[in-house]
Symmetry: C2
Subunit: 205 residues, 2 copies
């Protein structure tokens, strides 16, 4: 009995902050932890920028809805969900992900949350739990599930290491070099194959 | 940030063994733990009966598909999934639930598994984890989720007690009498109301 844990941004949907920068034309939203290493400071900067531009939650959800899931993501996900349990583990926020979760037919998502005022202004953010991807995989293992985890970047590697089977999906070359222990899937067909190979003989259909 | 944990049989779908008895006309499939208190013995008896009647997994999945979810279950579930994370916690088996999960748009399900031979004969059953409903709720709480759990019978009460908020859904009077601490929902509108009241101010939309 297996749970497939998938990272969200870069695996099923575009990078949300990059997409917001692209679609709003606000270049300063492109900053990442490479530019501002302190994540809390980066998030406060991002929320200030949205506020300065008068962008409330409704505006942002409309922009995110326009991004859509990545090409092929819906078919890939429905195929996996028809054979295994899937939980998406992401460091985004429920309110941002929501328009895209609707388009992915509401898979289960563990992430974080924004604090939104009644006028739609984003007041703050709440991290549910530090290192929550790894901890969720550990919790599923403690419930006697076989676990496969797939993600694309450094912040997924603790989850990949915790899982019975970790798979890198379209990672940057630097991540491949730093984590040679994980197989690499370059498209959804390869990711499907990696998941099925990992769970061979443990498929609950 | 909340997870709504729902029992499956009696809440979203009919009781599977009763449905199998109804649709196949095999009355001996109606036996429950009231008749055979030892669950392992009961399950072995049920699998023997299926085998004697030559019913393999494909036949059974066809019968279960015909049952369909309970009236209104799909709408209720999609409504809840659009606002909260939902995980279904059940003591059924993945292979039995599968045709109905398809009709419910593949919500995440934690349950148990059957061992099926290549000719479709059900050889055995595997309980993933004893008392797994309660343990799943405890795991979600350890991941900092608020939890609401709803179920209809005695075997749901440890999960209801473990959750931040437990709700009985269409329970027998005896369960209401024995567990007066849990609110009772008599239809999906009341269950929706009970969930939203429990999570008021903690809704992640």
């Amino acid at each position: 009995m297996a749970i497939v844990c998938l990272d969200l941004e870069g695996v099923l949907i575009p990078e949300i902050w990059i997409g917001l920068a692209d679609l709003t034309g606000i270049d300063s939203l492109r900053a990442t932890t490479r530019d501002v290493p302190d994540y809390d400071q980066l998030m406060r900067q991002r929320l200030s920028i949205l506020d300065e531009h008068g962008l409330g939650m409704n505006d942002i959800q409309r922009v995110i809805a326009d991004m859509g899931p990545l090409a092929g993501a819906h078919e890939f996900l429905m195929d996996i969900r028809s054979r295994h349990q899937v939980v998406i583990l992401s460091d985004t926020f429920y309110q941002f992900a929501r328009p895209l979760m609707a388009r992915l037919d509401w898979p289960t998502l563990f992430c974080h949350e924004l604090e939104v005022a009644s006028d739609g202004r984003i007041r703050d953010f709440r991290i549910r739990l530090a290192d929550h991807k790894r901890k969720a995989v550990a919790a599923f293992r403690s419930l006697n599930f076989d676990t496969v985890a797939a993600g694309d970047s450094y912040n997924d590697t603790t989850m990949l290491a915790e899982a019975d089977h970790g798979v890198l999906y379209q990672p940057p070359q630097q991540v491949i070099d730093d984590f040679p222990e994980f197989p690499v899937a370059r498209d959804y067909a390869e990711l499907r194959e990696a998941v099925e190979t990992a769970l061979e003989g443990r498929v609950a259909v």
